[in-house]
């Protein structure tokens, strides 16, 4: 186990720049998730950490040693691949033991280690099978077993759950979290699934275009996004972005919205943003669907809550909630209401806009205000 420090890493393939100055500090035992859309460089970064790709410039430090120019085998890193990459010609036992044999561990210790890992992952009955005789979930476990057996300094996971079906993925997610809590190892985990990122990570690095957009705890990234990309990428259904004009009220500021021909002023919490220089200009209001709900009497009188009637365009029941697509400022806006409160398509319905967690972005730069 060790700390991992990535210092200003650039990676280019010819003229194509994949990583543009990545810096991350990972503390010992932390579960870090790199998340972002395809092509954002997250897998390249993982390969650079593993040593499977050389960095163009920058440094990678593992503990106190600079491993930037060390071969993968000297870095003491284990990786679980998306395709699992189990050796097809070896049975499960051999797959797990391979790395230990290469490192010339005595036979008895290898057997002990394989037994320990097999017990940990509950794959003891599978030890004599070939990978082709295993199901997707079992292969996934074996791949993890292979990584665990060596007790390396850090673990890398490259979209390990993306080949599993939805139900199994949720199960394995929980198991992975339990495993991390038990072992307390440093993990860097790549995924494009923001739910996986939210549920598993101690801290999330949201990447786009070879740049870390934000590096923070799941709650920070969710509540306090650095820019419109992060705000839109994290959360499902994603955050509503409404372009609206800033107006000056008696002492505070507000943003102006229009619904069914009526104008409403939504008060801005000064803790969330200082919009003094934007009066009369347009900003992007970011408000999550769960902040727009059906009318709950005990909330109506709160300071930053405004009751707005909207026209229902589409309803999407998810079971726990019903999502309502409304039209605000002639833009689509998704709202989350209790299934029993949801109106019918075409009807008008009163909704509460809770501005206490609303965020604001510059229209041009998409940066947070």
């Amino acid at each position: 186990m060790a700390e991992l420090k990535i210092d200003n890493v650039y990676k280019s393939f010819g003229e194509e720049h994949i990583l543009k100055g990545i810096s991350l500090d990972v503390t010992d035992g932390e579960f870090i998730i790199l998340v972002g859309p395809s092509g954002c460089g997250k897998s390249t970064l993982l390969n650079c950490i593993a040593g499977l790709e050389d960095v163009t410039t920058g440094d990678i430090l593992l503990g106190d040693t600079n491993v930037t120019y060390e071969a993968p085998k000297d870095r003491d890193i284990a990786m679980v691949f998306q395709s699992y990459a189990l050796y097809p010609n070896m049975n499960v036992r051999k797959n797990i033991a391979f790395g230990l044999e290469i490192r010339k561990m005595p036979k008895a210790e290898i057997a002990e280690e394989v037994a320990r890992v097999a017990k940990l992952l509950q794959i003891e009955p599978l030890l004599d099978r070939k990978p082709s005789q295993l199901s997707g979930g079992q292969r996934q476990r074996v791949a993890m077993g292979r990584a665990l057996a060596r007790r390396p300094k850090i673990y890398l996971f490259d979209e390990p759950l993306s080949n599993l079906d939805a139900k199994l993925r949720v199960e394995m997610r929980t198991e992975m979290k339990k495993l991390h809590q038990r072992l307390g190892t440093t993990i860097v985990y790549v995924t494009h699934d923001q739910i996986e990122a939210m549920t598993l990570a101690d801290r999330i690095a949201v990447m786009k275009g070879g740049i870390v957009q934000q590096f923070g705890t799941p709650q920070e990234v969710y509540d306090d996004p650095a820019n419109m990309f992060v705000a839109g990428f994290m959360g499902s259904p994603s955050m509503n972005f409404l372009r609206c004009e800033v107006t000056k009220q008696e002492k505070d500021y507000a943003v102006q919205i229009e619904s069914q021909g009526t104008i409403f002023q939504l008060p801005v919490d000064p803790k969330q943003a200082d919009l003094s220089s934007y009066v009369g200009k347009t900003v992007v209001l970011g408000i999550r669907p769960e902040q727009i709900t059906h009318v709950m009497p005990h909330l109506v009188a709160e300071q930053y809550i405004t009751q707005v009637p909207v026209k229902i365009e589409v309803t999407e029941p998810t079971g726990a909630d019903t999502l309502i697509l409304a039209r605000i400022n002639d833009q689509e806006c998704e709202c989350r209401v209790h299934p029993q409160e949801a109106g019918k398509v075409g009807e008008s319905m009163d909704l509460l806009f809770n501005m206490s967690k609303a965020v604001f972005f510059d229209e041009q730069t998409e940066a947070r205000l």
Partner: protein, 292 residues
């Protein structure tokens, strides 16, 4: 396709035509072989009296032992095809082994350890597949002369290895590019180096393409006549050259039965290789074309 319970007449007729054509084609290819085998069992007296194409009236293996160890070929002391056959075996085994191993290594490097210019290197190597035998005769004999290998078995082996490496590399490289690259990455992280990955991970997965390459190289090298006749001297000539010398001997009577037996002897190893490993050959050729 699911079998229908009541096949229509059109279906049956279609099948009949298909099988009819296949039988005719198979017969067309098999008849010469059958004729050769039959003739090799007849005696010369019988052939002289009757037609060349006729059922044997008696059965004798004399022609086979003649061809194998008794017939006088050229001015050699040792008689029969046996010494030539042994030469061929001594030539083909190292040639096939070395060219296959080199091809596997080349393919491994070109697929998993790419270096600057490796694609160009591969392209250049492929030109070797299109070089006709005749084109390299003169330069190769010059080279063998410089190396002091003219007329030796080693020189012949070297020629076959060099000529074969283009093909074997192509086979292995095209097979390996379809293996998942993450296997090699995983092995690197497990601490394995170049040779360990090759011998413990890649080579055990290469069985189908190994069979294809070995059959291909064996057939090519065993059946080769041109290199055999140019780069050998009388003591190192392979069986193809021996057969040619035997059949073309112009003294005395033409012994058709001995010629036929000799031709079969010369072709036997390739037939055996196909019969033993033929199904792997087809399987190996199509491996990787279908995913799953």
């Amino acid at each position: 396709m699911a079998k229908s319970k009541n096949p229509s007449y059109a279906n049956i007729n279609g099948r009949a035509v298909l099988y009819g054509v296949l039988i005719i084609v198979a017969a067309y290819y098999l008849l010469p072989l059958i004729l050769m085998i039959m003739t090799s069992f007849r005696s010369m007296d019988e052939i002289r009296l009757g037609q060349l194409i006729e059922w044997p009236k008696s059965f004798s293996l004399d022609a086979w032992s003649m061809a194998w160890s008794e017939v006088q070929i050229g001015a050699r002391e040792e008689r029969g095809l046996r010494p030539y056959f042994i030469n061929s075996i001594l030539m083909v085994i190292p040639s096939v082994a070395i060219s296959t191993i080199l091809g596997a290594l080349n393919g491994y490097v070109l697929s998993f350890w790419k270096f600057r210019g490796s694609e160009l290197f591969f392209a250049a190597l492929l030109i070797g597949c299109f070089l006709p035998f005749q084109a390299i005769l003169l330069p190769q004999s010059q080279l063998l002369g410089w190396l002091g290998l003219s007329g030796s078995l080693v020189g012949l082996i070297l020629t076959h290895v060099v000529y074969g490496v283009s093909f074997t590399t192509l086979f292995f490289r095209n097979y390996y590019v379809n293996l998942p690259h993450e296997l090699v990455k995983a092995a690197k992280l497990d601490g394995a180096g170049f040779w360990v990955i090759f011998f413990r991970i890649i080579l055990p997965l290469s069985a189908p393409i190994l069979v294809v390459t070995v059959i291909w190289q064996f057939t090519q090298i065993w059946n080769d006549f041109l290199f055999g006749v140019v780069f050998s001297d009388p003591s190192t000539q392979p069986v193809t050259v021996g057969l040619n010398n035997m059949v073309n001997s112009s003294t005395g009577e033409k012994q058709y039965n001995v010629d036929m037996a000799g031709a079969i002897i010369a072709a036997l190893p390739t037939i055996v290789v196909y019969v033993v490993a033929g199904k792997y050959f087809v399987r190996g050729l199509t491996a990787g074309s279908v995913k799953g």
